[in-house]
Amino acid sequence: MTDQTNFEPMVVGFTCNWCSYRAADLAGMSRIKYPPNIRLIRLMCSGRLDPTFVLKAFEGGADGVLISGCHPGECHYLEQNYKMLKRFLLLRKMLIQMGIEPDRLKLLWASAAEGARFAEEVTKMVETVRSLGPLNWSKVVDSNGGHATVIPVLAKEEVTA
């Protein structure tokens, strides 16, 4: 187990070019600080998010993944954020089945005007992932030949759900 005290979560953020990437720009322009644990990748639309990207990010060492797009009804491409929403919901279920805490994947609607909110949500996300600890993809997935290793905490949640 990695030393918890020295654990710095790695969060990958997939942002929409029109809203949340600009919200990140605005956070920068307004000099609003947030933890350096997030690294962003720009997509033209959250609808471009192939679920594979998220899994690849986890496999590649990310402890959390943030997906952000335009608010419902404000998509630059009319309605493609709803299509991402469907994928997101499915992806969360899939992560649970894989033995990954679903809170490692976060969805954020952020408009281009919401720089402060973007920074705030990123901060929250990083803290959530920090409290979850390192993902250890190799332990969770690889060691089991790609099969699920049920996380104890999660199993309890599943029963109550």
Partner: protein, 676 residues
């Protein structure tokens, strides 16, 4: 394929980046550690975007035969075009240049230099791996239809329409009301010069109404907008006026003869009357009256028809059978100049509007002062005969107030000063202005403030607690009492007045969200349309071909609205003149050999760009309709759809890059001690 030769350029941006990121170290690191990924040269420079910085890149492209460039600087939304153009000038395909944002995403949002430096390295690593997967592309050129749609015919819309029409290009000017002119047509005087609003506006209205290049569509609303920049198809519903525009001479006899009088809550702000067949004001453009079906006897009971009976034209101009018309037009660009709504003063009950008779809104007062208004320019109390002896003017009603709107409505200070002057001029009454801060920026505004000060207007600095008719002290009976803390002397003041004027703030149109959705743009958190850049591009939106002007972008006075209208027109004219527009070549296309014909992607496209070829059992994507969102690319289970500029290979390569360096907390391990 030729071997990648990548150049990495790290910008200091003065101290904007260099203050938080050790750019020299980053540049050195990229030159050494990313050599394996094809980096042949890595440099840092004070200002990469300067011509010297650009020349540095261009010289390297030539001398070191670079075929890919990564610029680590500000956001790509700021300078991507700059660097791509620089690369193109050095004979490199511009789309082989990538930007990495280490200012907005690193130096400006993080404080620890070591941490920021490591993050910058990771992001650059992502950029380098991504650029290796970039493909040379050509910009897509779309033709620009020379016609322009302008929505909203207030002063901003009229200005924009005239600029474009005068340059010889067709304009469709769409207005919801029965006449053009907007709010400005309701005003009497305009600050700070006090010239009469009608005198300066109506000539422009006439020009717009008569212009051979302007098609005026009043009583009209936009129903639907299809297409994209250069090629919009807009569906407009032109409301029935019940007056034939081709025969009506605008003589006004019908208005005279109409027996139905209704309170005009729209143009006269509820202070005056109009007939059931009406024209907002005598100089209305177009001059034809319109029938208000909610009050017209014919529409209510099927009788009367006085207007038709007295209409002198041959054939008769009144047409009770007229129907709404649905018009489809093709335009290349759209300017939204939809203006503002006045803050509803009833929302602040303690100011008594609607409850206390002699509390007036700013718009009511404007109408009262207007020589063509309900009182013919005389200032009276609500009884219509008494002149006020003391008047209180309350600033910031609904503005700069966290309960209503946080923002400053810009015009209210100057408007209130104008009111004070007009009250003095017309009644000689004592005037009290209650203000929070006096904001008189811009040309000649402060001079006007000084003038009003010298006219003997009393200024009390403090937010008003309430306006009430409950008298407590002698001399307050029968008066309205304005209670406020005078923050300059630190005391509560109670000022008895005869009349209260609420200088209400400006709000976004009630349907601004809906309109924004129709045109594919968005609203900021306070509801005004959001611009592309708050300082450098206040008239563009994030949607190509849609521009905004006037108060729909934010509270604004007349000069600023006119400026924006003209600016938007200039931008549109530039587009029209160049006849075509280069768009980013971000498009999806199907690799037919891989397509299994599953049709999963077929329902995903909101632009109807995806069609299915039944014969070959493969899907096709129409490049002209595709907007490049990439949703179908992500959905294809066979990986048969590729999206230029944002291909799986590019994104996954970038992901590998940014994950290649661990997060450095600044307190633990150094880079060397951690295996990548």
């Amino acid at each position: 394929m030729t071997e990648e030769r990548i150049g990495v350029y790290v910008c200091h941006c003065g101290t904007n980046i260099a203050g938080t990121v050790d750019v020299e170290e980053v540049s050195k690191w990229a030159g050494e550690k990313l050599k394996k990924d094809g980096v042949v040269v890595s440099r840092d420079y004070k200002f990469m975007c300067s011509s010297l910085g650009q020349e540095l890149i261009q010289a390297d492209i030539k001398e070191k035969s670079l075929n890919r460039v990564v610029v680590a600087a500000c956001s790509p939304h700021l300078h991507e075009k700059t660097f791509r153009t620089a690369c193109q000038k050095a004979d490199m395909n511009p789309y082989l240049c990538e930007m990495v944002s280490i200012r907005e995403q690193v130096s400006w949002v993080h404080t620890d230099k070591r941490v920021a430096t490591e993050k910058a390295k990771a992001l650059i690593s992502g950029g380098v791996l991504r650029v290796a997967k970039d493909e040379p592309l050509e910009a897509i050129h779309v033709p620009i239809n020379p016609a322009t749609l302008i929505v909203g015919a207030g002063i901003a819309g009229i200005q924009a329409a005239l600029e474009i029409a005068d340059s010889g290009f067709p304009v469709y000017l769409v207005e919801r009301d029965s006449s053009i002119g907007g709010h400005m047509a309701q005003f009497d005087k305009t600050f700070p010069t006090l010239d009469c609003a009608a005198c300066i506006l109506t000539p422009k209205m006439v020009d717009a109404g008569d212009h051979p290049n302007i098609t005026l569509l009043t009583l009209s609303e936009i129903e639907q907008v299809d297409g994209y920049v250069g090629n919009f198809t807009v569906t407009i519903r032109k409301g029935a006026r019940y007056v034939k525009e081709d025969v009506c001479t605008g003589c006004g006899i019908c208005i005279e003869k109409c027996p139905i009088k209704v309170i005009d809550t729209n143009f006269e702000a509820g202070l005056g009357y109009r007939k059931a067949i009406y024209r907002n004001f005598p100089q209305a453009i177009p001059k034809y009256p319109a029938i208000d079906t909610e009050h017209c006897t014919y529409f209510l009971h099927g009788k009367c028809k006085a207007c038709q009976l007295f209409c002198p034209t041959q054939p008769n101009s009144i047409d009770f059978e007229q129907q709404d018309e649905v018009i489809r037009i093709e335009v290349g660009n759209i300017i939204l100049a939809t203006g503002y709504d006045l803050f509803n003063s009833r929302r602040i009950p303690q100011y008594g509007y609607g409850r206390l008779a002699n509390v007036f809104t700013s718009l009511e007062f404007e109408r009262m002062c207007n020589a063509a208004g309900p009182t013919e320019g005389r200032v009276f109390l609500r009884d219509g005969i008494t002149q006020p002896k003391t008047v209180g003017i309350i600033h910031c009603v609904g503005s700069r107030d966290k309960h209503y709107n946080n923002y400053c409505s810009v015009i209210c200070c100057m408007q209130s000063l104008k009111f004070a002057h007009l009250v003095k001029e017309r009644t000689g009454a004592e005037v009290y202005e209650f203000y929070i801060d006096m904001r008189t920026a811009f040309k000649d505004y402060d001079e006007f403030y000084q003038r009003v000060l010298q006219e003997g207007v009393n200024f009390i600095r403090g937010r008003v607690a309430e306006a009430t008719d409950a008298a407590r002290l002698p001399g307050e009976e029968g008066k309205l009492i304005i209670q406020a803390e005078d923050t300059l002397i630190g005391k509560q003041r109670r000022i008895p007045v005869d009349m209260v004027i609420l200088s209400a703030g400006l709000e976004p149109r009630a349907d601004s969200e809906e309109v924004a959705k129709k045109f594919g743009i968005s609203c900021s958190s306070n509801g005004f349309f959001i611009e592309k850049h708050p300082k450098l591009d206040p008239i563009s939106t994030l949607t190509e071909g849609i521009f905004i002007a006037g108060a729909c972008q934010g509270p604004k006075d007349i000069p600023a609205s006119v400026t924006q209208g003209a600016a938007a027109a200039a931008r549109v004219l530039g587009r029209i003149q160049s006849k075509e527009l280069a768009l980013e070549p971000i498009r999806a296309s199907v690799i037919e050999e891989r397509c299994s014909g599953c049709r999963i992607c077929n329902d995903l496209c909101p632009f109807n760009a995806i069609t299915f070829n039944e014969e070959l059992n493969v899907t096709n994507i129409n490049q002209a309709l595709c907007q490049g969102c990439g949703t179908c690319v992500a959905a294809c289970p066979s990986g048969a759809i590729s999206g230029t500029q944002f291909s799986d290979e590019q994104i996954l390569a970038q992901l590998d890059g940014i994950l290649s360096l661990p997060i450095n907390s600044g307190k633990v391990k150094t880079l060397e001690s951690v295996p990548a």
